[in-house]
């Protein structure tokens, strides 16, 4: 039999001036099962809480209803007080008679009637409350970081420096990501390699970081604290531990003309056995079997093998699957640039001297194909006039994407600046829609490009680019002067839009995290939980979430790391107990619940008899993943699943209590 205590709060005059609190108390006392009904001026005050505790103790209450302010205000306060008297915290229910009665109504009699109704509703609910225990999930204190760009490296280093083991997985032969492809970085013009390579080396040498390059995530299962991850380590054909990175192999490779370098965005060639760039970490070459003569011509060529001193080239190496168990994951998969083939009028791909922003970065870079001397790809001459076109693909809902790629305004200003510094007497023109330069030092940087470095900024779109007599003729509009402009340029640089890394959607599906219509990974909450994915234990960092610059990527990597270190600072992960549970006796294993669950929290469970035969398959709720939304409850045809704290019989009782 229930022994319910009802406590009606005056909240000074906040409630008492519009609601007849004594009447509410009297009505409460009439309800069967209510053994105590009191009203008090401030229930949340210390004396108020003490009186609550005293009544719980004296009357041995099985449930408490507070007719007071919103549960979002003081539910926790009263739950804590109840726990001190040994009551389950979920046996405390709040009737919201302040925010939803006294503050919004004026007629005292009717407001009182409403307050009585709400109080009765909660009495009926608390009568049917079941004790709920918070769920504890054990944690494997090891983290997986997917993606070895700046945000992934930052996350890995921060976690590792916090004393936690990290597995860093990178798809490419070297870590470094996009940042290591850049020349100098805005707005300070630090050399990207100079600030990035020490971090890459640190990540490689850190005792707490295990680095898997040239590797991909094959499968992920499990849940927070206990993810089972399969990593495919692709056959590198070079034994990593023996390689000294001396370079004899790639110098010996006869394939040095025909293979385009991915790292240099097709602006130079590489050999079949290669390191993507000289500062690669680890400095161990990869043998590209799709072009290697040994594999194409039946094992005839083995010049690299002959040249290799430590004999670490292994043509028979196989892909390897490595299994790891981790407690948390960071997805930092990065970005790609849009294909600009839909902008045929810009001639990208048709004219060699129309390049993308990232290609121009390689032309500027001292480690790039031209060793930092700006040369046009077509004839190797130094350009005197360059036209930069911003928003190619970005902010174009018709042909490209509607969002702003955020970094292009700044890197274009940087390109124009570096061009002016490297080629004296040169001239650059920038076509833009708006200039977005909103971080620290950014606006001054763009101003400097215009005022000191003489870049001419033209507000408008480019309509056509065509070749004429060795020049690229750029036709566009200057909307500020209202004139059509035509510029004869030596080179054109397109600031192409940022899109999510190819294949990141597949990875997201594997991880069970959500992504938006463009493919960017979505945060659990765009403002308040920007580092968390929708799935517990999986965190996000870097451009995988959307366009952002280097400082923001670093911040997001650190944010993900701090979340993981916070998670791992406890021995177990605690989940609120208000989650779903399955009645296995009535479950018919239709798995409609599984279809509606946004958290992949429902799994198949086999019930076996003593000799191990499967006698029944039922749905089972993973407490590490369930958030207690209750979508599964309504999807269940056999009424076999219910969500604690909001169970069917409670809600029907609430509705019944409102009967008129």
């Amino acid at each position: 039999m229930s022994r319910i205590g009802v406590f009606v709060c005056w909240c000074g005059s906040n409630i008492a001036s519009t609601v007849d609190v004594e009447k509410v108390r009297e009505e409460a006392a009439k309800i069967p099962g209510v053994v105590s009904a009191v009203d008090y001026k401030y229930m949340c005050s210390d004396p108020g809480q003490n009186s609550l505790r005293n009544v719980i103790k004296e009357k041995n209450l099985t449930g408490v209803v507070l007719a007071a302010c919103s549960p979002h205000m003081h539910e926790n306060t009263f739950r804590k007080a109840a726990v001190k008297e040994g009551l389950n915290p979920y046996f405390v229910e709040i009737a919201n008679i302040r925010e939803q009665v006294s503050w919004v109504h004026e007629d005292k009699e009717r407001a009182t009637a409403k307050a009585v109704d709400l109080m009765k509703m909660m009495v009926e609910k608390v009568k049917r409350d079941k004790p709920i225990e918070d769920v504890r999930v054990p944690l494997n204190k090891k983290a997986l970081v997917i993606g070895g760009g700046i945000s992934g490296i930052q996350a890995a280093l921060d976690i590792a420096n916090g004393g936690v083991e990290v597995i860093l997985v990178e798809k490419e032969p070297s870590i470094g990501g996009r940042m290591i492809q850049l020349d100098e970085t805005f707005p300070t013009l630090d050399c990207s390699s100079c600030i990035m390579t020490p971090k890459m080396v640190e990540a490689n040498q850190h005792p707490n970081i295990k680095l898997y390059t040239y590797s991909e995530i094959e499968d992920v299962s499990g849940y927070i604290g206990n993810f089972k991850v399969k990593i495919k380590k692709k056959a590198r054909s070079v034994v990593e531990k023996d390689c000294t990175g001396c370079g004899e192999c790639w110098n010996a490779c006869p394939m040095h003309k025909n293979v385009k370098s991915e790292f240099n965005l097709n602006l130079s060639e590489r050999t079949a056995i290669y390191v993507p760039f000289p500062q690669a970490v680890p400095l161990v070459p990869v043998l590209d079997r799709s072009v290697c003569l040994h594999f194409k011509k039946g094992g005839k060529c083995q010049k690299c093998f002959d040249a290799c001193g430590p004999k670490c080239i292994d043509f028979s190496m196989q892909d390897e699957i490595i299994e790891e168990t981790v407690g948390a994951i960071v997805a930092a998969t990065g970005y790609d640039l849009m294909e600009t083939s839909m902008y045929g009028e810009y001639g990208y791909g048709k004219y060699k001297d129309v390049v993308s922003g990232l290609q121009f970065e390689r032309l500027l870079s001292a480690s790039g194909p031209t060793e930092g001397v700006i040369k046009r790809p077509s004839d190797g001459k130094t350009p005197q006039t360059i036209v930069f076109v911003q928003c190619v693909g970005s902010r174009d809902p018709e042909k490209g994407v509607p969002y702003c790629s955020k970094v292009c305004c700044m890197y274009t200003a940087k390109h124009a600046k570096l061009f002016a510094h490297k080629v004296h007497g040169s001239q650059s023109y920038v076509f833009y829609i708006d200039i977005r330069s909103t971080s620290k030092g950014y606006e001054e940087f763009v101003r400097g490009t215009m005022e000191q470095d003489g870049a001419v900024y033209l507000r408008g779109r480019v309509s056509k680019i065509y070749e004429d007599n060795g020049k690229l003729i750029v036709k566009g509009a200057d909307t500020l002067s209202g004139n059509q402009v035509e510029i004869a340029a030596d080179m054109v640089v397109l600031a192409t839009g940022v899109i999510p890394k190819k294949g990141s959607d597949k990875l997201a599906q594997m991880l069970g995290i959500s992504y938006d219509k463009y493919g960017f990974l979505t945060e659990s909450h765009p403002k308040l939980r920007p580092a968390e994915s929708s799935t517990a234990g999986i965190y996000l960092a870097g451009m995988a979430q959307g366009p952002r610059d280097i400082p923001e990527s670093v911040v997001s990597g650190s944010a993900a790391a701090s979340k993981i270190l916070g998670l791992f600072s406890k021995s177990e992960y605690e989940v609120e107990g208000t989650i779903s549970s399955v009645n296995e006796a009535t479950c018919v294993a239709c798995f409609y619940c599984q279809r509606v669950c946004a958290y992949n929290a429902i799994t198949r469970k086999e019930i076996k008899d003593r000799s191990g035969n499967v006698v029944k398959v039922v749905a089972s709720v993973n407490p590490g993943l369930c958030t207690g939304c209750g979508a599964c409850v309504n999807a269940c045809f056999s009424k076999s699943i219910d969500v604690k704290g909001f169970m069917d019989d409670q809600i029907y009782a609430e509705i019944k209590s409102l009967a008129v």
Binding site: V104, D117, V596, C629, I651
Partner: protein, 160 residues
């Protein structure tokens, strides 16, 4: 007839309420989610906005938790109007619960019509935690609408 029913109900439940539940003073039940609409209603309170006192709010974790049978049950218990309100599309605290709810509502409406309920008596809305004013507007408009409706349509439920 209606008043007799009400009297009977009152005796059965052993309660007294100033809110008679009659057509001129209808009882409305709102099923709202914990994260958006409940907070929106709280905001109306902290902003001291005033609205019709005919509504009774039942809080659920998510609109995705709302079983269509709750709505039938509410009508059976004499509600003259039922409101379902949750987070705006894309804002669901649980990612997709409001979409499930919207889909259910779309199909369930037809069934309610078949059962003889005037579909004007069921309302569905998105109210965010920052839309205290929208909560006030929705409740007031809905109450006015219910008051203006002819009463016979919910007999199927009130008769039991």
């Amino acid at each position: 007839m209606e008043d007799m029913n009400v009297e009977k109900e009152k005796q059965k439940e052993g309660t007294a309420s100033a809110n008679t539940g009659s057509q001129s003073d209808p009882r409305l039940i709102a099923f709202v989610c914990n994260w958006c609409t409940y907070n929106g209603a709280d905001l109306a309170g902290t902003s001291r906005m005033k609205y019709s006192d005919n509504v009774r709010v039942i809080k659920l974790p998510c609109t995705g938790r709302i079983d269509p049978l709750f709505i039938v049950e509410a009508f059976k218990k004499g509600a003259k109007g039922v409101l379902v309100s949750g987070c705006h599309p894309g804002d669901c605290h649980y990612t997709s619960g409001n979409y499930h709810s919207r889909r259910k509502y779309a199909t369930f409406r037809d069934l309610l019509g078949y059962l003889g309920v005037d579909l004007n008596r069921v309302e569905f809305s998105w109210i965010s935690a920052s839309e205290g004013n929208k909560w006030v507007a929705v409740i007031n408009e809905f109450t006015d609408k219910i008051k203006s409706l002819p009463d016979k349509t919910t007999d199927i439920f009130t008769k039991k």
